[in-house]
């Protein structure tokens, strides 16, 4: 790939992202424009879309999301968050601590090491903002910044859990 193609790929991607185009379509349009520039047949893009989904390990993603929503519906995540909040919520920077603490149990019972981030993304980070009882009374759930922070701390928690000895 030459420099122009790379610039085109990144340029189209970031410009369309800034235009508030959904990220999936932004990725698609960036790829389409680069493939047109390089003269690659566009049927390949469909091939890649299909081939990337055609993998067995990838099936864990919807199952993790299913487990996350079942845990939300059943109230397990609320209880996990309450426990975590009672343990570490009072320490300064409680949002991060509660997230890390709440993610530890889910990280423990998921068997696959690399997929530990997913329950925290799908289940806990959602619940932490849908209930958000451990936060103060301000409407934090409306804040994209805090949503991002929660996701990131959940992700970090999963990494910490993955690296910590059993």
């Amino acid at each position: 790939m030459n420099d122009t193609a790379l610039m085109l790929l990144l340029g189209v991607f970031f410009i369309t992202i800034f235009l508030k185009l959904p990220i999936c379509f932004a990725l698609g349009l960036a790829s389409v424009s680069t493939m047109l520039y390089l003269g690659i047949p566009l049927a390949n893009i469909i091939n890649i879309m299909y081939a990337s989904l055609d993998s067995y390990p990838f099936l864990a993603v919807p199952l993790f999301m299913l487990v996350g929503s079942l845990m939300n519906g059943g109230g397990i995540t609320d209880r996990l968050m309450n426990v975590s909040s009672a343990w570490v919520g009072h320490i300064r920077g409680g949002l991060g601590h509660v997230n890390v603490g709440g993610c530890q149990p889910t990280c423990r019972f998921s068997g696959v090491k690399v997929s530990r981030a997913l329950p925290s993304f799908s289940g806990l980070s959602h619940t932490s903002f849908s209930s958000s009882r451990f936060l103060v009374a301000r409407p934090f759930h409306r804040s994209g910044c805090f949503r991002f922070a929660s996701s990131m701390t959940s992700f970090l928690a999963s990494r910490i859990a993955a690296d910590s000895p059993r």
Binding site: P22, F25, L63
Partner: protein, 169 residues
């Protein structure tokens, strides 16, 4: 209610029904596969292929519903600070989505012809039966996106009428 909305409601109902059914089948096949593999050491090879097929159908049937309700992830840099620009950007985004839908439909059908000669290894089903979900999804998304575009255009024109002191109703 406009015809487009009725068509989209039917598509949405069908997509939701199919995605729900496929998710149930998919979960059952995975559970059966894992259970038989770990307990009886007898892996169901066909369940592996079947689950992947159901997953791909699920993804591409779920995408139009997400598009209709604008649930695809997007980054909102401007927020409500520049409302007029927001309305214009919505229309521009809807038009850009059409470009990708064109690729999905036209080149999806092209790839369908190639995939018709390829088979899944265990189930021995033609891969085109799965790949057909891509142009089909693009086709349904075309209708969903048209509805979104009409809504956005109406919002944009209503907004400009308001700013010019005109009466929307």
């Amino acid at each position: 209610m406009s015809y487009l909305k009725i068509i989209n409601n039917i598509f949405e109902y069908l997509c939701k029904f199919l995605v729900g059914s496929l998710l149930a089948l998919f979960t059952m096949s995975i559970v059966a596969h894992v259970f038989l593999r770990s307990v009886f050491s007898y892996p169901l090879s066909w369940a592996q292929d079947g689950a992947v097929m159901l997953f791909i159908w699920m993804v591409f049937l779920g995408a139009p519903v997400a598009l209709r309700y604008r649930m695809h992830f997007a980054i909102d840099l401007f927020g409500d600070k520049v409302p007029r620009l927001g309305y214009v950007l919505n229309v521009v985004c809807d038009l850009l989505v059409y470009l990708f839908l064109y690729v999905m439909i036209v080149y999806g059908i092209d790839f369908l012809k190639i995939a018709h000669s390829m088979y899944y290894s265990y189930l021995y089903i033609r891969q085109s039966y799965v790949v057909v979900s891509i142009p089909l999804s693009g086709f349904i998304m075309f209708f969903m996106n048209t509805e979104n575009l009409i809504v956005d255009l109406r919002a944009l024109t209503a907004r400009s009428l308001l700013e010019d002191g005109g009466d929307v109703l």
